[in-house]
């Protein structure tokens, strides 16, 4: 049984396609494991046992029919901001607590087409706003490596599920780091492709110009497989890119010879503490040992990342979240008139972080402030793209920490700003739309840390290839098992 749950997506697909075992066998094992551990971890807001079994039977029938499916029988955790027909899709918010999606989004559909099995809808920070999953209004998710610590966020449920073997692939969404940071916290790989690579149709929007779906997996190879299944143009999303998706899973390499890796001089790690600083120095040395040439690059705008992000993302969210008004679906609190109904519904339905960002965004777009805030932030965003373009003239990839610290304890970040700081290293890439990932790079205090690698636009294959070389040479992730497993078994 445990054999199935520990298998990578690639191993499961190989086994199912080769009739060594069936999708139903894998699914039964994973569902039993979810039932055994998830009351303690809380990865899932909704477990999809019936749908998972039904899908597994269909996959087995398709395989029997001779179809070769790249994700045949692979258990998948679907972040709860992604629509899947007939499933509760909450965004971690009270306002959508009982909303059942009547349609399936493109990325989820492509995972299903590839043979993936939806195991459950994974917890998240409300509307993907947060870095710890603590902003979920509907449940707590714990870090499988230390149940007193957060799994990261906002894709914390997907990350915890993959780390705890409750799924082989977690579908996440990343707006400013929401895939990469929880991946780092949970000792797994988290990959955000180029903005527009994977359709957003059916992804409940937080900040439309930044939101990007991507996979969370235990191996780089699995990230490549999941990416290939989801990527590609979608006529339902006009921001999706109509451009050939280069094969990534067949471009995985084992060394970094000839690869120039940029180390951003503004990303000083000394102030993260001696232990973390030492860890990243060691990480960069490991890259060098694999044949990479380390080069110094500069991102002069780096320090303006948070300020820029926290104007653009809230501005877009203030408009994107207007539709949650109690009129057509979701929560409704009646009022004396329609205006009062809006106010009461939104007051009761949204949590404090969501309200804070709606307020910031509304303010930033208001007449008289628009030019000073929103327009200025857009201009700053252009500078980020230019900075990266310049930096990539002298390097092929950029390396940095994925997060400022290892996973922290619950309720330890009481002021919003210290929480926002967790995404200091990931936000610049988001602003520039670049592909970036986090891969395990070592341990601090028994908790995992992540190396962020970023590539120029559309260079996903290069990025995954290099990450694979690093992963295979170091195997940092294998050093520790999730603690909860010792408890459960």
């Amino acid at each position: 049984m445990s054999d199935f749950i520990r298998m990578s997506a690639a191993e499961v697909a190989r086994g199912v396609n080769g009739a060594a075992f069936s999708a139903s066998d894998v699914t039964d094992a994973v569902l039993a494991h979810v039932d055994a551990v998830d009351d303690r971890i809380g990865s899932y807001l909704t477990r999809l046992h019936d749908l998972a079994r039904e899908t597994a039977r269909n996959v087995d029938a398709r395989v029997k029919n001779g179809e070769k499916l790249p994700l045949a029988g692979v258990p998948v955790a679907v972040k709860d901001n992604m629509c899947l027909t007939g499933t509760r899709t909450t965004c971690g918010s009270k306002i959508l607590e009982n909303w059942i999606s009547p349609y399936t989004g493109t990325a989820v559909q492509r995972i299903l087409n590839a043979g993936g099995i939806p195991v459950g809808k994974a917890n998240m920070d409300e509307f993907a706003m947060g870095s710890s999953c603590e902003n979920s209004a509907l449940g707590e998710t714990r870090n499988p490596y230390d149940l007193d610590r957060v799994p990261g966020g906002s894709s914390g449920g997907s990350a915890a599920a993959v780390a705890a073997y409750e799924a082989a692939i977690g579908m996440g969404s990343d707006t400013g780091g929401s895939i990469r940071e929880p991946a780092a916290f949970c000792n797994i790989v988290g990959f955000k492709p180029t903005y527009g690579r994977i359709s957003r149709y059916g992804l409940i929007a937080f900040a439309s110009s930044l939101d990007q779906i991507g996979p969370l997996t235990r191996t780089v190879e699995d990230a490549a497989l999941a990416y290939e299944a989801m990527a590609g143009h979608d006529p339902m999303d006009s921001t999706s890119i109509d451009r050939q998706v280069e094969a990534a899973s067949t471009a995985l390499r084992t060394d970094l010879k000839g690869v120039r890796v940029g180390i951003v001089k503004e990303f000083v790690t000394e102030n993260l503490g001696p232990e973390i600083h030492a860890l990243y120095q060691q990480t960069y040395a490991e890259l060098e040992k694999l044949g990479a040439e380390l080069v110094d690059v500069s991102l002069p705008t780096a320090d303006y990342g948070l300020a820029t992000y926290y104007l653009i993302a809230p501005a877009e969210c203030s408009s994107n979240l207007a539709r949650f008004d109690g009129v057509r679906y979701g929560m409704r609190i009646e009022g004396a008139d329609v205006g009062q109904m809006y106010e009461k519904t939104r007051a009761a339905g949204f949590g404090p972080e969501v309200k804070r960002r709606i307020l910031i965004g509304t303010y930033a777009l208001s007449s008289g402030y628009y030019d000073a805030y929103y327009v200025k932030a857009q201009k700053a965003r252009t500078l980020f793209s230019q900075d990266f373009k310049r930096a990539f003239e002298s390097c092929d990839l950029i390396a940095s920490p994925a997060a400022s610290s290892p996973a922290f304890r619950f309720k330890s970040k009481s002021d919003p700003y210290s929480m926002y700081m967790m995404d200091y290293y990931t936000i610049p890439m988001s602003l520039a739309g670049l592909p970036a990932l986090s891969v395990p790079c070592g341990w601090v205090d028994g908790m995992p840390m992540g190396l962020q690698l970023a590539a120029p636009l559309f260079e996903e294959a290069r990025l995954l290839g290099a990450a694979h070389a690093y992963e295979q040479a170091t195997h940092h992730a294998r050093r520790h098992e999730p603690k909860m497993l010792e408890v459960a078994s």
């Binding site: 901001n81 349609y103 207007a322 777009l365």
Partner: protein
Amino acid sequence: MNTASGPKAGGYEAVIGIECHVELKTKSKMFCACPNEFGGEPNTKVCPVCLALPGALPVANKEAIQHMIAAGLAFDAEIPAFSKFDRKNYFYPDMPKDYQISQYDMPLTQGGVVRYWLEDGTMKECRLTRIHLEEDTGKSTHAGSGDGRIAGSSYSLIDFNRAGVPLMECVSEPDIRSAEEAVGYLEALKRTFVQLGVSDVKMEEGSLRCDANVSIRPAGASEYGTKAEIKNMNSFRSVFRAIESEIARQISVVESGGRVVQETRGWDEVQGTTHTMRSKEQAHDYRYFPDPDLVPIEVDRATVERIKASLPLLPPQRFERYTKEYGLDVKQATQLIDNLALADYFDRAVAASKNPQQSMNFVLGDLSRLANESGTSVPESPVTPEHLAELIALVDAKTINSKIAKELLERMWNGQGSPKAIVEKEGLAQTSDTGAIEKFVDEVLATNEKAVADYKAGKTNILGFLTGQVMKQSRGKANPALVQELLQKKLS
């Protein structure tokens, strides 16, 4: 329309600008694949996108963008190479996203001129500020408030069938000076959009809705007065009445020492007056910003040139041709231009007959009468413009007289084909053979002694009767002028 509020009436001049929303005729809605059709059971033409379900995304309709370009080019507007969609944010229950996708500072068309004419044939111009593309909202029905308004209602029903239908908003410069001009301007928009096929422009279905900004100033002044925005006008007739009423109201406010305040006023069709809806202080901050779900629109020059080349002959050009070249009067010209299929038919008849006046007489006269009687339109009838031209040629050559022509036309209407063929086959050609006609005249004079006596006694109007008798004898073929001439000669 004679108006009290024409230019400089009572020492005041009205300054009017018009904003109107026109639903575009497209196969699907603006941002989704739902059909763009009027009516239907409520909430049957909806999908995740136009219902703004969580996670749904808009994709712009190419056909709508092409319609916009055609509309702009028809008014000589500039079509910028780059345009974008913006979100207009405000909460309203029948607007599913609680923002409207519209265009703020980079519309698809900028500038342009609408040329139109008044009933007396005067040509007028009104500059356009812009035409921009946006989406329509759903439709609310409020119950329990008595007057159908949301205030005081106990519940509301919303039909989202119309939500997401493409709309173009045409904003005019304040170049209009009277209610009559306002209607002339709107008629020009209507006939142009219908001709381009970009909209059906049916006010009763809400596919054209307009607001008017009205102010007054002393005649000859160059400063604008304070304007009021008039809403709720649902026909061209009500536009005319509302503007007349508003101008009169503003004049009386000023005359009695008051000041016009900037506000939105609703037109009350029953009362025939406008009333305050909301003042400027309640104006919204719409927090416009570029819609991040939609990529900017890049309009390539080749597309613009292709659309430009495909534009039909436009109403002002037709009007010039009809009135100046063909000598039609304003009413006749307008009647044809407002019935485009008929105008095209007319043009083909003129091309074949080279006789605009006769073509117009037949098209607006006998043919339109036959069309009314039969319920078939002229262009759809069996009478082709080429056959009509044959008929006109037969009359022009005096081969047949007008009576035969009328009979032939009815037979052509009933599908008997070429009038020339009928005339040849049945020997219906008019005769000017004096000998033959004289024979008929003699017979008639011989058998109508009393009439002859009456004529000679001074009742000269009996000549008509005698002419008729001769025509009858000739089975209509005799040249009536010749018949009269011979009769008069024989009777004198």
